[in-house]
Each structure stands twice: as C-alpha cells, then as structure tokens.
C-alpha cells in the first residue's frame, strides 16, 4: 500500500490518526488530560514502538481507557492503580511486536537455534554429548 512518497514522509494514515488522537485528548477534563500525557510520555520512552500503526493502536487504546474513565467519573487512581509504572508496563506489553527489540529477540532465538543444531567441532569426550537427531549426518 505504501507509495514512495509515504516511504519518505512516513505513513499519511498514521499522521492522520496522530492528529485525531491529539484532538480527542484536548477534550478530556484536566486531571485525565494530565494522566494521559504522563502515561504517553512514559510509553514513548519505555515501549520504544517503532511501527507507526502499532504506536497509534497503542495510543488509541490508551485514549479509549482514559475517555471511558473520564465519562464514568472513575478516579485516576482507580484507573492506573498504586503503581502507575506497573500499569504502563503491562499495557505496553501488548504492543511488543512493534518494538525495535522484537527484531533482536527474534535474532537471538534464531542464533541459539542455529548454535543448538550444530555439534561441537572439538574431538574427544565432549563430542559424544551433543544429542543426535534424525537427519543428522552420521
């Protein structure tokens, strides 16, 4: 879908969603506005989501939570709990696919898979310790 202009400028759709998010935020009553700005700031630092659409999904989900709380009159403390960091981390975990670290996690798993498949090259007793699998050369 992405055309070459968007490759240069970033996705237009994400930008549109970002503007809509910012606009909706301004309609929140003051304490809720302060709370969402605080959580948003923390998430931008901690979650390091690099995919624009995942980032926007995260912020829109957050906004929905805070908007619902505001219209129900749920106190901020009841929403984020005694430990707001705990809440924010639990929340951010849902969007881990979009984090840059996701790539490195995959790479580490693949490196270890590759290493575990190989048998030690060293001769001697230790060579016998590598478990053989079907399909391994004899």
């Amino acid at each position: 879908m992405t055309n070459w202009i968007e490759k240069v400028t970033g996705s237009f759709d994400d930008k549109r969603r970002w503007r809509a998010y910012k606009a909706r935020k301004t309609t929140l009553p003051a304490p809720y506005r302060t709370a969402i700005d605080g959580v948003e700031r923390y998430l931008m630092h901690s979650a390091s989501v690099v995919k624009g659409d995942v980032l926007m999904q995260m912020l829109e989900d957050l906004l929905e939570l805070i908007e619902t709380a505001a219209s129900d009159g749920t106190p901020i403390r009841d929403v984020v709990g005694d430990d707001p960091v705990e809440f924010a981390d639990t929340f951010a975990a849902n969007y881990s696919d979009g984090q840059w670290i996701a790539k490195e996690r995959k790479r580490l798993a693949e490196t270890i898979d590759e290493a575990a498949r190989r048998r030690p090259e060293r001769s001697g007793e230790s060579a016998g310790r590598a478990p053989r699998r079907a399909g391994d050369p004899a």
Partner: protein, 115 residues
C-alpha cells in the same frame, strides 16, 4: 498490595479474567467490580483493561460495541471457543502448579526444624 502478590498475580490475572467471562459476558468495569467481589481488591481498572486488550488481540473473546450516552462506545466481552480452550488450559496449569507447590511445602513441613 505486596510486591510478591503483584508478581504472582501477573501470571494468573489473564486466566482469572477468562474465568469471570466464562460466567457471563461483561463490560470492562464490571470485570473489575467482579474481581473486587471475589476478593481481588486493588487491581487497577487500567491493568484489567490492558489484559482485555491482549485477550482481544489473541482472539479469545468476541467483542460487541454498545453505544454509550456519554463517552466512547462500551465494549462487551464474551468468551468464545478459543477462550474456553485457553481457560481449560489455565485450570490444568493451575492445578498442576498448586499440587506441586503444596507437595513441596508438605515435604519441607514434615522434615521439621532445620539442623
């Protein structure tokens, strides 16, 4: 809520929410209220919401949006077949863990005081 309690709940809260939804479909705030009734006090609404987002992403619930008089439409969550399967798995895992930990505790108790 103690640190240890928070840590232990972290791994089980998703299953607990599925168990509550197995009884009947519910709004997010109803789930938090039910948790409180069941003795799980002090669980933040936001934490429950975060887990509901995850449960929804993984396709364990069906979600119906109901328009609300004020604020955004409210989501009603109901457990679907995949969710029920996940819940069965949760109970199996829980029973296994509970049995093992109790057994370990009994072993230590019966050995009496340490030398």
């Amino acid at each position: 809520m103690g640190r240890q309690m928070t840590e232990m709940l972290k791994g089980t809260l998703e299953g607990i929410i599925l168990a509550i939804l197995a009884l009947q479909p519910a709004y997010g705030y109803e789930i938090t209220a039910r948790l409180r009734d069941e003795g799980f006090a002090e669980i933040a609404e936001g934490t429950v919401y975060a887990l509901l987002v995850r449960i929804e992403q993984r396709g364990l619930v069906d979600v119906e949006r109901v328009p609300s008089e004020k604020g955004p439409p409210r989501k009603v969550y109901s457990l679907n077949a995949a969710g029920r399967e996940q819940l069965d798995e949760f109970w199996r895992t829980w029973s296994f863990l509970a049995a093992r930990i109790t057994q370990l505790h009994d072993h230590i108790e019966t050995r009496g005081e340490r030398p």
